[in-house]
Subunit: 528 residues, 2 copies
C-alpha cells in the first residue's frame, strides 16, 4: 500500500515537471558569497538532489560537514585560509582608500590591481587543485553530475563543467564592470540610461552624468580586459584549444542574477538571465527572550537595527565613540552588531552584540530603521521587511547599493569617513519620522513579495530545467556566434556605405562626362 | 460557519496576492484577434473580475452576450460589419499578391498602403465612437475601472485609458515592423541577430542575410512612420496636448506578447514585456463520436489535420483538386476543414468538414501531422501537442511563423501558389516519416510545457498586479525620458569628440608655436 502511494507520488511529481534525485556539482566562492549559494544548495537538498561542493583546503569560511544528500569534496591547494583572508583584507583596504568615482576610476583600478592579481593567482591554484588532480577528476566524472552551479566571481567552474561534459549555470550579483554580462553574456547595456556598476549613478542622468557613465563603462571595460586578460591563456591551456575567459563564460546555460526590479533600474536583458534577488529572504522567526525584552522595552519609539556586515569587526575608538554618541541622541532602542571594544559614549538605549538575528529583527513590528553598510544581502532583508535604511557604505558594491536605495526613496546615506554624531542622528530621524521613507520601503517590499514565483523557487526551477533538458539552448541568443563588429553590424554598415560611395562616384562621373560631352557639343555648335 | 469559511478564504487569497472582484475594461480588435483576448477575459471572469468590453456597432465577429460578470458596452459607428470585412478582404488580397521580401518590401507597402489607410479611417471612426460619446465616457468614468487591456493593432485603447485616468496593458503578437516595440516600447532589436518581422529570416544569418535584415528594419520603420504618422495629430487632439502615437503607446504598463522561446529566437527584452505565447492552448477533449470513429479507422498510419484558418473559406477548383489528389497519395486519413465545393479528386482517406475541433484533433495520439496556413494560434496548438507541421502560408505573419518552425526543425513549407500534388505529398511524408520532425516538435512542446508559470496565469497575474499596484512603474525603463539621440548617446559621443578635437587642436597649436619660437631663437642664436 505504502509502495503504491510512493509510486503514485513519483508519477505526480514527474507530471508536474519535478526532478527527483539529480546530481549537482557546486563551484562556490568562500566568504559572504557562500551564504548565497548555500541557500540554493539547501533548497536543492530539500528537493532531494544530491549536492557535491568543491571546497579547497584553503577555505576559511565554508565548513565542510557532509550528510546523506550533501558531500564536500575537499581538494588540496598550496595556500592556507589565512593567505586568502590577507588578500581580502588588502582588497578591502585598497578599496576603502580609493573610492571609484568616474573621475577616479583609473587610479582606483591601479590601486585595486595588485590585490586582484593576488586573487587571480590563488584562484588559479584552486583551479589547478581540481583540474590537475586526475584522481579527483576521474571521481567527479564517475559521479555523473547533471549540472554544475558556479559562482563565477572566482573563475574555473565553467572549465570543470566543460571537462566533465555537463552544462553549467552561474549565480552572481554582478561581475566587476558588468563586462562579463555585457560582452560574454551579450546583454545590451545602453549607457544613456543604464548606470555602470560602481558609478553610483541612477537611471535618471543629466548630460554630465551620461558623460560620466559613458566614460565609466569604457574605462571599466578596459580595466577588466587588463586585469582578467591573463585568464585567456589559462582557459586555452586547460581546454586544449585557443579560447578566452569570455567565450567560455558565454556558454553558461542560465545566469541567475541576485537582484530584481525592486532594487535594480529597469534595463534590457536576455531570456537566459533570471533575476532572483532576495532568494535568501524569509519571514522573521521569534527573537531570543533577552533580545525580545529589550525590543519590547522600546515602547512606541521602536528599535533601530545596526550592522556593518561580517567583514568589519571593529572601528577606530574615535569612530566608535562618535557613532555611539549619535545613537544616544535618538529615542529608539538600538541593537548594534559590533565585535570591537565597547565605546565610552555608549548610552543606555544602545546594546552591543557579537551577533544579531538580523532577519528576525528586521521583520519585527517594532523595527523603525536599519543602519547598514549596504551589502546586497542586508539590503534585500531590508526590502523584504519594508524597513527604511541609513546607509554607511564602505567598499565593493555597497556605495552602488545605497545609491539605488536612495534613488528609490528608501534610504539616506552617511559618509563613513566624514560623518559626525549629529549627521548620523539626523539621518536616522529623517528615515524614521519622514513618512515617505517608510512608504517607499513598503512599496519596494510589496514589489518584492508580489512576483508570480518566489526568487528561490525560480532559481531552483531553472537549475532543474537544465538537468531535465541537458541545457537551455533555446534561451541562448545567436549573438554568441558573431564577432563584435558583426554584432554591431559594422560590416553591413561599411558595405552599404561603400555601395553608396560607389554609386555617388559613378553618378558624379557620369554627370561630369555628360556635361563635358554636352559642353563640347555646345561649344562645337556655337563655333558652327 | 459558512461565513467564517468564506472570510478565511478571502484572507488566504489576499495573503496569496490574489485580487478579487476588480473592474477591467477591454479594447478588443475584431476577427481572429478577438479569440486571443477572449481567453484572457474568460480567465479574468473565472477569477471573479467584472469585465466590460467596448464593441462597436460595426463588429462582425464579436457576439455581444452579456452575463453577470461580462458586459458588452456597444457604441455607435457610422459603418457596418460588411465594410470592415471588405477592407480585410482587400488587405488579404493585396498581401497575397505582394509577398514582402526585403527586396520587394517597398512595393509591398505601396500596395498594402491603401487598405491600411482604410483600416485607419475605420479605426478613427471607432475611436470617435467612444471618445466623442460623452454619455458613454461619463458612464465608463463612473464604472471605476482599475485597468484597461488593449489590443493595440487598432489604436485608441490607450487614449481611452488616459482619459479615464487608469493604467493600461497591451496584448499583441507583434506590431507591423516591430517599430512599436522598438521605438515606443524601447526594446533593443540588434539587426545582426534579431530577424525583422516579415523578413522570413532566422537568427542564423549570412552576411547577405544581415544586409537584407538591416535594410528591412530601416525600410519597415520608414513605412510605419509613413502609414501610421496620421495618428499623431489624432492623439494630440484627443489628449489636448502635442503628443505622438508612439509616446502614448510607451505609457503601457505591461506588454503581453503572444510568443515564447519555443517559437521566438532569443533576443533582448525589457522587464515590462511578458511572453505569454500559447495562452489559449489546453489539453485535448474527447472527439465527437463520428470523428473519433474516422480517426480510429486510420489504424497504425494515423491521421493528418488540415486547416487553412477561418479567413480562407474556399480555393479555386483547380487548387482544391490539386490538394485533394496530393492528400489521396498518403496512407493516413485526413480531416480537412474546408467550406468550398467538394473537389472531384477527393479520395476515401480524406473527409471535408465545415469546422473541426482542431485542438482536440492535434492532441489526439493518432495525429501524425498538421497542414496549416501558419496562423499563430494554430502554430501554438501544434507546438503544445508536439505535432510536426506542413506550412502553406498565405499572408500576414504566416510566412514568418512557418520560417520559425522550419528553423526549429518542426515544419516543411509548401508554396501555395506553385505547389504540385507531389510536393504536398512529399512534404507530408517528410514530416511524418523523418523522425527528426516529430522529435523537434516534441522538444518544442516540452519547452512550452516546462515553464515556472503557465502563460495564461502569467498574463492574468500581471493584469492583476497592475490593478493591485495601480501600475507597474518599477518595470518602466528610463529610456522613455530620452530623445533618440540621447538614447543612442550621440550627444555624449559628439561632445567627447569635440573635446578630443579641441585638445588635439590646442596641442598642435602649442607645438607649432613652440617650434616656431624655438626655431627663431635657434636662428637668432645662429646669427649671434
Amino acid at each position: 500500500m505504502l509502495e503504491k502511494s510512493i509510486l503514485l507520488l513519483l508519477l505526480q511529481l514527474s507530471v508536474l515537471g519535478i526532478t527527483l534525485g539529480g546530481n549537482v556539482l557546486i563551484w562556490p566562492v568562500d566568504g559572504s558569497h557562500w551564504l548565497n549559494i548555500k541557500i540554493i544548495i539547501d533548497e536543492l537538498i530539500n528537493k532531494q538532489h544530491n549536492v557535491t561542493v568543491l571546497v579547497s583546503s584553503g577555505a576559511f569560511y565554508i565548513k565542510p560537514i557532509s550528510n546523506s544528500y550533501l558531500t564536500y569534496e575537499r581538494y588540496k591547494v598550496p595556500f592556507e585560509g589565512e593567505k586568502m583572508l590577507e588578500v581580502i583584507g588588502n582588497f578591502i583596504l585598497a578599496w576603502m582608500k580609493n573610492k571609484p568615482t568616474p573621475s577616479t576610476i583609473w587610479r582606483f583600478y591601479q590601486e585595486i590591481g595588485p590585490p586582484i592579481k593576488d586573487f587571480n593567482a590563488l584562484n588559479r591554484e584552486m583551479c589547478d587543485g581540481v583540474l590537475k588532480n586526475q584522481k579527483l577528476m576521474k571521481k567527479l566524472k564517475k559521479s555523473k553530475f547533471e549540472v554544475l552551479v558556479s559562482d563565477p566571481v572566482f573563475p574555473c567552474g565553467d572549465i570543470i563543467a566543460l571537462k566533465l561534459g555537463i552544462p553549467f549555470i552561474y549565480s552572481l550579483k554582478y561581475y566587476p564592470a558588468s563586462t562579463v554580462e555585457k560582452h560574454c553574456g551579450k546583454i545590451p547595456y545602453p549607457p544613456s540610461y543604464v548606470p555602470a556598476v560602481l558609478s553610483e549613478l541612477t537611471d535618471q542622468m543629466s548630460f554630465t552624468d551620461r558623460i560620466r557613465n559613458f566614460i565609466s563603462y569604457h574605462l571599466q571595460d578596459y580595466m577588466f580586459d587588463t586585469l582578467w586578460k591573463s585568464w585567456d591563456a589559462y582557459y586555452s591551456e586547460a581546454l586544449g584549444r585557443p579560447t578566452t575567459l569570455c567565450e567560455t563564460m558565454g556558454k553558461a546555460e542560465i545566469w541567475l542574477l541576485r537582484t530584481y526590479w525592486d532594487f535594480e533600474f529597469p534595463r534590457p536583458y536576455l531570456p537566459n538571465f533570471e533575476f532572483v534577488g532576495g532568494l535568501h529572504c524569509k519571514p522573521a522567526k521569534p527573537l531570543p527572550k533577552e533580545i525580545e525584552e529589550f525590543v519590547q522595552s522600546s515602547g512606541e519609539h521602536g528599535i533601530v537595527v545596526f550592522s556593518l556586515g561580517s567583514m568589519v569587526k571593529n572601528l577606530t575608538e574615535e569612530k566608535a565613540n562618535l557613532i555611539a554618541s549619535g545613537l544616544a541622541q535618538i529615542p529608539q532602542k538600538v541593537l548594534w552588531r559590533y565585535q570591537g571594544k565597547k565605546p565610552a559614549t555608549l548610552a543606555a538605549n544602545t546594546r552591543i552584540y557579537d551577533w544579531i538575528p538580523q532577519n528576525d529583527l528586521l521583520g519585527h513590528p517594532k523595527t523603525k530603521a536599519f543602519i547598514t553598510h549596504g551589502g546586497t544581502n542586508g539590503i534585500y532583508e531590508g526590502i523584504y521587511h519594508g524597513v527604511p535604511m541609513v546607509g554607511v557604505p564602505m567598499f565593493a558594491d555597497q556605495h552602488d547599493n545605497i545609491a539605488h536605495m536612495k534613488a528609490k526613496g528608501a534610504a539616506v546615506e552617511v559618509n563613513m569617513h566624514t560623518m559626525t554624531s549629529a549627521e548620523l542622528r539626523d539621518a536616522l530621524k529623517t528615515v524614521i519620522y519622514e513618512p515617505s521613507y517608510k512608504e517607499n520601503a513598503m512599496r519596494l517590499s510589496s514589489i518584492h513579495h508580489d512576483q508570480p514565483v518566489k526568487p528561490l523557487d525560480r532559481a531552483v526551477f531553472w537549475i532543474e530545467f537544465v538537468m531535465r533538458h541537458k541545457g537551455a539552448k533555446h534561451l541562448r541568443p545567436a549573438a554568441h556566434n558573431l564577432t563584435w563588429f558583426q554584432y554591431h553590424s559594422l560590416d553591413v554598415i561599411g558595405f552599404l556605405l561603400a555601395c553608396m560611395a560607389t554609386v555617388i562616384f559613378l553618378v558624379t562621373k557620369c554627370c561630369l562626362f555628360s556635361c563635358r560631352k554636352f559642353g563640347k557639343t555646345g561649344k562645337k555648335k556655337k563655333r558652327e
